[in-house]
Subunit: 92 residues, 2 copies
């Protein structure tokens, strides 16, 4: 069910930026927010959407909540691209 959700999640440039930041290592919500001009609740909202799409995971450590990439769904998205690019496929 999160295939479509994931495509929608990565459609937003702020969320793609979050994913790029996490590529380099896990970050807390606050650290992520420092990279944006938005208010923290807005960043939190984007994190929620990424989480619902299974693109990131979160874990609490004391007062902080750490976010990290969950790469498994990326594989599925990549597969869709592969399928489009290789002619003579048969996925509907």
């Amino acid at each position: 069910m999160s295939f479509n959700e994931a495509f929608k999640a990565i459609a937003d440039p702020n969320r793609r930026k979050i994913l790029s930041l996490l590529k380099k290592g896990d970050l807390t919500a606050g650290e992520i927010a420092e990279h944006f001009d938005m208010q923290k609740p807005s960043v939190s909202h984007h994190l929620k959407i990424l989480k619902q799409a299974d693109l990131v995971e979160d874990r609490r450590v004391g007062q902080h909540i750490y976010y990290s990439l969950n790469t498994t769904v990326f594989q599925d998205l990549m597969s869709w691209f592969y399928d489009i690019l290789q002619k003579e496929g048969d996925k509907s």
Copy 2:
């Protein structure tokens, strides 16, 4: 400029379906519309968005307008995924 536009374009399931249909061969706007429950102007709207994102090209042949995949931008999108998946990258 069409990198973000392309990500937005593929966020819609109807548009992804159009791209999948075109994978098998070029189709006219009317043939594409036959695969959907939407009215033709709505399909035309989706085609316009795909065209603006450089994901498809169109050419008129008599009364018909044929649509075909333009795979060059797909490569760019794929690159973004690759970049996320391989750790230790340095794209911001």
